[in-house]
């Protein structure tokens, strides 16, 4: 019996494409974020609110992933920014190849911010690098405070946690402080912004995006 040392990442192929994408994003100074959450946490609502407030001089493009339907793309298209739906046909996550394919006919020189809305799932998107600068995880107050403990991987990999639907806090048995402390236990240093569809936290979130975009444009923020 002999052994061949392989020492390769299982998702090597995905990683290769992600690196190529990252190189393109860097060349065109595009800020890329990848938003991950359970189904129904409010990813599309957050994006609607974001586009509504977005300075129209910023050139934003969106890729939105779902197993089926173009409903999200339709919801997001009304703000006038380019949106493409990625229908995965049952696959539970987006991979780098899907991003590459859907970006193929978009002129990257006309994009400042690319927002990728992943398929609603807290597990599978974790391991797939899409060439993004940041993963952002969303958790809504109608879920459990212990989600960061149950699904630690995505919280570890995310720069920012958005705690959504905070306007519902008076009506649900959800302790926001416990949820935040769970997230920080799993990922010390994770940033947290609390939002709702009434506009809570939107100023802070838009400022976060502005700052990251400025850092990408100035070359200060480079993702590797």
């Amino acid at each position: 019996m002999s052994q061949i040392v392989v020492e390769k990442k299982v998702l090597n192929e995905n990683q290769k494409i992600a690196l190529e994408l990252r190189e393109k994003f860097r060349a065109h100074k595009i800020l890329v974020i990848n938003i991950v959450s359970s189904p129904g946490s409010g990813k599309t609502t957050l994006l609607e609110q974001t586009l509504e407030r977005m300075d129209k001089s910023k050139r934003v493009a969106l890729l939105t992933g779902d197993l089926q339907t173009e409903n999200d793309a339709r919801r997001l298209a009304q703000w006038g920014f380019p949106v493409k739906q990625i229908i995965t046909g049952g696959t539970c996550h987006l991979d780098a190849k899907m991003i590459e394919r859907h970006l193929a006919d978009w002129p990257l020189e006309n994009i400042d911010v690319l927002i990728i809305e992943n398929v609603g799932n807290l597990v599978c998107p974790t391991g797939y690098d899409l060439g993004e600068h940041f993963k952002i995880v969303m958790l809504s107050v109608t879920e459990g405070e212990d989600k960061p403990l149950k699904y630690p991987s995505i919280f570890v990999k995310s720069e920012l946690m958005i705690l959504s639907k905070v306007d519902l806090l008076p009506y649900v048995p959800f302790d926001a402080e416990v949820a935040k402390s769970n997230a920080r236990m799993v990922h010390p240093g994770i940033e947290i912004i609390e939002t709702s569809n009434k506009g809570d936290g939107m100023e802070q979130w838009m400022k976060w995006l502005e700052e990251k975009l400025a850092a990408v444009k100035s070359g200060e923020l480079i993702s590797i």
Binding site: M1, I4, V6, K8, V10, G127, V186
Partner: protein, 114 residues
Amino acid sequence: MHELSIVSSVLDQLDELKKQHEGAVFSKVGLRVGELAGVDVDCLRFGFEAVVKDTHWERLALEIEQVPRRQRCPACSEEFRAENWATTCPKCGETETVVVAGQELEIAYVEVEE
């Protein structure tokens, strides 16, 4: 449940590797899976069995090494096992420690029949 795509990625890479080692019979593949990799090891085993059945990989065994999460303290350089989310440095109390192990999802080795 993305363990099936993970199994396919592993087998795709083994098919490539086999081209470089013509005539070799691979009897076992060793994977390294970190506890933060977002992969359920039982699902992975189950998916592996289901995928290799009735293929040229049918006789390939699977061995999984699970890697526990370890953190490093930026303040005092202590490295420690972070059990039950205890990510605070046990030596100096620093809370913002960083992950150094536990995110692996790798093919470590293959065993070849002589």
